[in-house]
């Protein structure tokens, strides 16, 4: 009988324990949604030889995550194959800024893992990999990223654009500066404050567009409006038609957010004044004026009209926690006991209704419920 129990233990318990131990280890690193082949290159990976792909593959492309511009390095010296080629100083920051108008980091950094963006040379070797024809060598990878984009607008594939000296390039003088390529050859792009458009629309030929308001006040990012504007959009001078927009395209820029049918909202005979909150019918007092737009209008871009009643925002105020003196009127002893709604029925906080208690002839003009003080 004892032998049977021992046998039973061996047959049932040992595999159970083994599977528990390994099962936990497996669960730590594995997600049930993942296919084995996504990470392992062989059919039967073991602990000793897990045969994990060295670099992220096509399958892991979706791991690419967004990174902030502030994380981007300023200038990178590309010198990993400097034995063969002249090192290149690459203004990473400027390119990162420009790529924000396109597909951001992903424009160049494909197949990046979730947590970080590896540099090109981590995956692309200096020599070609005969086992992976799909992956270009480091030289090819750099050139594909740079030249395929640069030639789009410059129509030029000269080496000297990036490589400062190039033996074969005798006769060509480098236009680049050794300290900063893009910074020198590209002027700073001026951000306009206001743009006045003269349109053929007779009832209102002038359209005023406050660029600064949209950026500073309404919190627009460049890419929100400048969609798919790569370098060639401005620089491809052989195709100036690119810059001419159709009527529909022009209107689409505004109508996407301003869902209105009223032409006069934008079109006028003269320059429209800048936005003031008073024009919405809700002038901002000195407290509201200090707030960021998004503290009241949390949705960026499409800013809608809010309920102007105080307790649509200040819903938590009541007679106990509201200091009336903040309005500039300190209530006297008689009035401070009352509930808010006794004087302000129907959530009308701008003017009190005294008739609930007092006779008709008593009003704010001839009998204050306290005294005006200097606002604190």
């Amino acid at each position: 009988m004892r032998q049977f129990i021992r046998y039973f233990f061996c047959v049932l318990m040992v595999p159970l324990l083994v599977s528990m131990v390994f099962g936990t280890a497996y669960a730590q690193n594995h997600n049930s949604d993942l296919e084995c082949k996504r990470c392992h290159s062989c059919d039967n990976p073991t602990e000793d030889s897990p045969c994990i792909h060295v670099c992220p593959t096509k399958a892991s492309k979706h791991f690419t995550s967004e990174h902030l511009l502030s994380e981007a390095p300023d200038t990178i010296v590309l010198d990993h194959i400097m034995k063969q080629f002249e090192p290149v100083r690459f203004d990473h920051k400027s390119h990162a800024k420009m790529s924000q108008m396109n597909s951001s980091c992903k424009t160049c950094h494909h197949y990046s893992p979730k947590d970080r963006i590896p540099p090109c040379h981590e995956c692309h070797g200096a020599e070609d990999n005969p086992n992976n024809l799909r992956q270009p060598s480091l030289k090819g990878a750099y050139h594909r990223q740079c030249m395929s984009c640069h030639r789009e607008w410059s129509h030029d594939t000269k080496c000297v654009v990036c490589h400062l000296s190039c033996e074969e390039d005798a006769g060509f003088v480098s236009e680049a500066d050794s300290t900063d390529i893009v910074g020198i050859s590209h002027p700073v792009i001026a951000v306009p404050t206001v743009k006045i458009y003269h349109t053929p629309y007779k009832p209102g030929p002038v359209v005023t567009f406050y660029h600064d308001e949209h950026v500073d006040l309404f919190g627009f990012e460049c890419v929100d409006c400048h969609i798919d504007e790569n370098c060639g959009y401005c620089h491809d001078l052989s195709h100036p038609d690119n810059l001419v927009k159709t009527e529909e395209e022009k209107h689409a820029m505004c109508i996407n957010c301003h869902q209105i049918n009223n032409c006069g909202h934008c079109h006028d005979h003269k320059r429209k004044p800048a936005f003031t909150h008073a024009s919405t019918g809700f002038p901002l007092n000195r407290y509201h004026n200090q707030l960021e737009c998004r503290s009241c209008h949390p949705t960026r871009k499409k800013i809608g009209k809010l309920d102007s009643h105080c307790n649509s925002c200040h819903g938590g105020w009541n007679q106990q926690n509201f200091r009336h003196s903040i309005t500039g009127l300190m209530l006297d002893e008689n009035h401070i006991e009352w509930d808010c709604v006794d004087c302000h029925p129907g959530n009308a906080y701008d003017k009190p209704d005294c008739s609930g208690c007092h006779d008709d002839d008593i009003s704010m003009e001839n009998g204050l419920p306290g005294e005006y003080i200097i606002r604190q």
Partner: protein
């Protein structure tokens, strides 16, 4: 008279013997020419990656010592305004796509000898100056060439050029696949020089697989066809391209090998040296009958 006849018979026998041996000799010399095209070398040209920098033209020029053009000659982008063909001065040329409506999405592609698996030029060459040999290279031997230029007529890609200006030793000029380089485990000069690695050098079988993987990975970038995989029985140089490039910039060719019709007739007839044997047999019969007639005449004369 008898002596002469004996001499003639000896000569005839020798000629027949030589003619029977010769084909086997030429077959022996072709032995190292691989029929295993998957293991022959090839190049995959990805026209969607090519940026039209013409570095391959420059590298080819320098490698084959074709001209003394300075580098600036190869940086002139106005050449893309017209479509060019390889010439005596350039074994390869880069052309831009036919559809020039958009510069942004313009494709470029280099053209050169495709080093066909079943080359029409080799079949057309009457002196064996062109051979399909080791590594899949279609190589040219100027020493054997008699300048008939049948290869130029036969080539479906219109590649071979001819040195018309050379008065004494004109040659047929075409891409050599940098035979010396690839024989020493190096890449052809153009492949080596391509900055964006639009050209992939490798075993033809691997390249075909690689091409299909590329198409599968980016079906929007490519037209689902590897030009050269099956065209005229397959070529060593193959192309990946978008739809327009395949349709307008590369020739439309059937899958049938070009020499298949002519070679099946020619090789069928000349198999086992049959026509000469038949001819000599026929001549022998004629001679025999004439001899019989002569004998009869002599007998008749003697009788008379």
């Amino acid at each position: 008279m008898n002596k002469d006849r004996r001499k003639f018979l000896k000569m005839a026998t020798a000629t027949v013997a030589a003619a029977t041996i010769l084909p086997s000799v030429s077959e022996a010399s072709l032995e190292h020419c691989e029929e295993d095209f998957d293991n022959a070398f090839g190049v995959l040209v990805d026209t969607t990656v090519c940026i039209g920098c013409r570095n391959c033209e420059l590298a080819c020029d320098r490698q084959n010592e074709l001209t003394d053009h300075p580098k600036s000659y190869f940086m002139d982008n106005t050449v893309f305004d017209s479509r060019r063909r390889p010439s005596v001065e350039s074994y390869t040329v880069v052309n831009s796509s036919f559809d020039s409506s958009s510069t942004d999405n313009k494709s470029f592609g280099k053209i050169q000898c495709m080093h066909c698996n079943h080359p029409a030029c080799v079949s057309a060459c009457i002196v064996g100056a062109l051979t399909k040999c080791k590594h899949g290279v279609v190589s040219y031997d100027a020493w054997k060439c008699i300048g008939c230029r049948y290869c130029m007529v036969a080539c479906p890609f219109q590649i071979p050029a001819y040195e018309y200006k050379e008065a004494l030793k004109p040659r047929v000029m075409k891409c050599t696949f940098c035979y010396d380089l690839i024989h020493n485990d190096k890449k052809p000069a153009c492949v080596e020089s391509c900055p964006v690695e639009a050209l992939t050098f490798g075993k033809r079988g691997d390249l075909i697989k690689h091409a299909h993987v590329k198409i599968e990975a980016a079906p929007n970038n490519y037209y689902d066809h590897v030009f050269g995989e099956n065209e005229i029985g397959g070529t060593s140089w193959m192309y990946l391209a978008n739809k327009d490039f395949i349709n307008y910039d590369l020739p439309k060719l059937e899958e049938e090998k070009i020499p298949s019709l002519t070679e099946s007739i020619q090789h069928g007839i000349f198999k086992s040296f049959l026509p000469p044997l038949a001819l000599y047999g026929f001549l022998g019969l004629v001679m025999h009958s004439i001899r019989q007639d002569k004998k009869k005449e002599e007998e008749n004369d003697e009788q008379s």
